[in-house]
Symmetry: C2
């Protein structure tokens, strides 16, 4: 089936191009034409593969999500407070090489806020990540025998991660500081479930 | 100076129009022409007032910011745990009538992520809000005599508020649930600075 193979490979090339463009200057002003040029494809080839920019963006985000879920599952496979931290840092896309992924996410978010079908794509991925984080939070809390609303904690941590991603992209916060805030929050959670939480003294490590 | 008065009033009308359009269907796809029509002005009038869409958006955001800072100052004028909660809810633009403000903010954020001059506008407003929140957090902590890194707490709360704004706009989280998560976080902060924090039991009120 050489035709199908070409088609899949072409979509891969387009997604690669979207990520490279996002890394260089965001994707707000990027057109199908820009993507075709970057991917080394004709406009016709891109147009046959994608209805419009939103569909292209959805595929680029799908790759970000797939990679993220894969990493999160791997990190969650060995439950520990460290796993919670690693998954959170990964959700927040705060790694050195993740700026392109963060840009793709933010561009998608901005369009999804006004395009219900795109918002649905983002909502579809949300429950798995939320339940994965909920499990990790519950495990951290169980370690100290305290009762915590793990689902609520997980949702708050997810929102914090999203907010940090935005602030780092805007330069309101440095990447290192954002990482520190997120890790501190995960550690406070582990500490706050212990009797000495009030003091917030000493590292958890 | 009738000419200057006209000019200021025209800018007001344009900003009103941007907010109404944002409320109706976001501002991602909104053009100068759309705004002119909504404002009941000619394209020429709009073009004389604004270099481009980004400048228009910057003015619309400036109004969101100005109103917010005004409300935050008023809430902070009577320091209490309640004041911290009120300011946070306001930062997160989670009020019934604040969807348009939230849309303007998100659209601006998405463009600012790729336009350094816009990012600077957002960064300029950040320190005042951060220092106001830092003061409120410090007051809440001082009430229980515990030591907390108030600046770091304030930054984390700001990021949480931003993340919640995004998740509510996307429909990943209900507005009421987002409000509850934010208020809980502010209350946990007040509790966590007390010896019984480990239990997380009982309301703060």
């Amino acid at each position: 089936m050489p035709k199908q193979v070409d088609y899949a490979e072409r979509r891969e090339r387009v997604v690669d191009a979207v990520h490279r463009l996002a890394d260089r200057h965001g994707i707000e002003g990027v057109t199908l034409r820009d993507v075709a040029r970057e991917a080394g494809l004709s406009m016709g080839a891109v147009q046959r593969g994608f209805r419009d920019k939103d569909e292209m963006l959805a595929l680029a985000l799908a790759r970000v999500s797939a990679r993220f879920v894969e990493r999160a599952r791997a990190a969650a496979a060995e439950p520990s407070p460290g796993a919670l931290e690693r998954v959170l840092l990964d959700v927040a896309l705060l790694g050195e090489g993740q700026r392109a992924e963060a840009q793709v996410w933010l561009a998608f978010v901005a369009r999804a806020a006004v395009t219900p079908s795109l918002a649905m794509t983002l909502r579809d991925g949300h429950p798995e990540v939320a339940s994965l984080l909920t499990r990790l939070v519950a495990e951290v809390a169980a370690g100290s025998g305290a009762s915590v609303d793990a689902a609520a904690e997980a949702r708050a941590l997810l929102a914090l991660a999203d907010g940090l991603t935005v602030q780092v992209l805007l330069g309101q916060l440095g990447r290192d500081e954002a990482r520190r805030l997120l890790v501190d929050r995960a550690r406070l959670l582990a500490e706050a479930t212990r009797p000495e939480a009030g003091k917030r003294a000493g590292p958890t490590g």
